[in-house]
Amino acid sequence: MQHDLLDFGKWTPFILWCYAITAVVLITLTIVAYRKEKRLIREIAQKHRRDNRGTS
């Protein structure tokens, strides 16, 4: 069956909402995970620099 791109008749908004909400949730989850790890590494590295300066 041939389509216009992203046109599903009267149900278009419902289908697009489904995909949009899913995308937002999943992307947020991914971004949070990646940023969290980055922040943690930075935080730990900073603490070690602080500690090293204290001992030397």
């Binding site: 389509h3 419902f14 909402w17 995909y19 995970a33 590295a45």
Partner: protein, 250 residues
């Protein structure tokens, strides 16, 4: 196999292993999602009964399927935590919870939108057993996360949450059965849902499989990532973390 599993249980090895695997998983997830979405939205035909709305299936079915499986993973990891006291198992359980909750949330939203297209005017139909079970599962995830974050001591949090996860997993079949019984009282049966996933036309089955793969890979990827975060947080004073951070900075 067992040796490998055992090795994976040691934090530094796990960290190195996940560093290698993660980029591949990320690429694979991206590919699967792109293929799945394009296939599902554009190429796949619309179901002759449900018209175009069957396209919602490609997100709803994998999300609801994995929302349940992730809880099972959590329960198994919790059992391992309680029996063998393997630190990593606890982290896997804790890291799974937000992902599982998000999948459940997606399943609820898409299920309700899909239902709206079929039930007519309501977004929420109490007589749909799957949505009900999904809702209760969502509550279980929320309770697990609330308990997990209520304890300050990581080790106690892990064990308390593990007990809760196991209690929850014993309850899931009972909840499922009770909801099924309850909705049968209201005689509102629905024709939608996962049961036709196996019987549907191949032209719709393949994009569904692709999306299932995508959701699975995303879960694996996020699981590794969240576990790494918890690991770094918990072991920040250990030698291997210091070493790793130094390498990272260099």
């Amino acid at each position: 196999m067992w040796v490998w599993f055992h090795k994976l249980g040691s934090p530094p090895y796990f960290y190195r292993f996940s560093t290698i695997v993660l980029p591949w998983l990320a690429v694979l997830t991206l590919i699967l999602f792109s293929v799945g979405v394009v296939w599902g939205l554009y190429i796949a035909p619309s179901d002759y009964q449900q018209s175009e709305t069957s396209r919602i299936m490609y997100v709803h079915v994998p999300a609801s399927m994995f929302s349940m499986s992730i809880y099972m993973v959590m329960a198994m990891a919790s059992a391992v935590t309680l029996i063998w006291r393997i630190k990593l198992a606890d982290l896997v359980a804790s890291a799974s919870a937000p992902i599982g909750a998000a999948y459940t949330f997606i399943a609820l939203i898409t299920g309700s939108l899909w239902g709206r297209t079929m039930w007519g005017n309501t977004y929420w139909e109490w007589s749909d057993p799957r949505l009900m079970s999904e809702l209760i599962l969502f509550f279980l995830y929320l309770g697990y996360m609330a308990l997990n974050s209520a304890y300050e001591d990581r080790r106690r949090a892990a064990r308390a949450a593990a007990v809760l996860a196991l209690v929850g997993v014993v309850n899931i079949p009972i909840i499922h059965y009770s909801v099924e019984w309850w909705t049968s009282l209201h005689q509102g049966s629905t024709t939608r849902g996962t049961q036709f996933a196996a019987t549907i036309d191949p032209s719709m089955r393949y994009p569904l499989f692709v999306m299932m793969g995508a959701f699975a890979m995303l879960y694996a990827q996020l699981l590794l990532k969240y576990t790494r975060c918890l690991l770094l947080d918990g072991e920040r004073n250990n030698a291997w973390v210091k070493e790793m951070v130094k390498q990272h900075a260099a």
